[in-house]
Symmetry: C2
């Protein structure tokens, strides 16, 4: 009887592990309608050859990651893909964010951390292009 | 004995479920250095007001999702974010892909599915811009 009970407990524990694991899997799955807005910003530095300015701008962009409505955050530089006529590899830094919705992006725009970023770092760039896409 | 064996099999099955579930969790976790390249393509339709052409182009872009080296796939249209001077919301369709590395992007470029897409759908657009970024 004791043996059987122990086995039952062992089985129950495994079941708990399996359930917890399954629960985690569901948490990892993106709910529909999340991360619907991508916000891709390309910066062209005033001094495109200045490694120092590049470093400063990257540091500046990194401060933005604290803003709560951001669901995914990427900073990049031009990739060494083939130089085809349609590829624009002239930018210095790219910032790619995902938001759940337009409201999340609005909160980001008006956030003090974002306003401070523009105040402290906009002297570094001469041009910015932003593309906001909604997932279909 | 038969009973015990059955219990053993039940426990073993649960263990298998638990292991499989755990394995899935690990598969869901991104290893470092994965998804390093973003490839963002913006298309401007020749007939920007044609809902039919938009639908066709979206169908075309969707065919690309089969290419094996793609790690993440998004199709979008301009989001209804604030119309600021730096925001370019004039494109018709955006395609945002992630690859593990430049090689993954090269395979995508040369893939028959991609070549067929260009062959069958390029008459629809008048302009394309591509931005390839490498995560830093």
């Amino acid at each position: 009887m004791k043996q059987t009970r122990r086995k039952f407990i062992a089985s129950a524990s495994l079941l708990a592990v399996a359930s917890a694991a399954s629960a985690n899997i569901f948490l990892e799955m993106e709910p529909i309608k999340k991360k619907q807005i991508s916000h891709h910003v390309f910066f062209w530095l005033k001094n495109p050859d200045s490694k120092e300015d590049l470093k400063k701008l990257v540091e500046g962009v990194q401060t933005l990651s604290k803003i709560e409505t951001i669901r995914e955050f990427h900073i990049g530089v031009p990739a060494s893909t083939e130089k085809r006529p349609v590829v624009d590899a002239s930018f210095s830094v790219s910032e790619l964010l995902f938001f759940d919705d337009v409201e999340g992006q609005n909160i980001y725009q008006e956030h003090p951390v974002h306003q401070k970023f523009v105040e402290n770092y906009s002297h570094l760039w001469e041009r910015v292009i932003v593309y906001d896409s909604k997932e279909i």
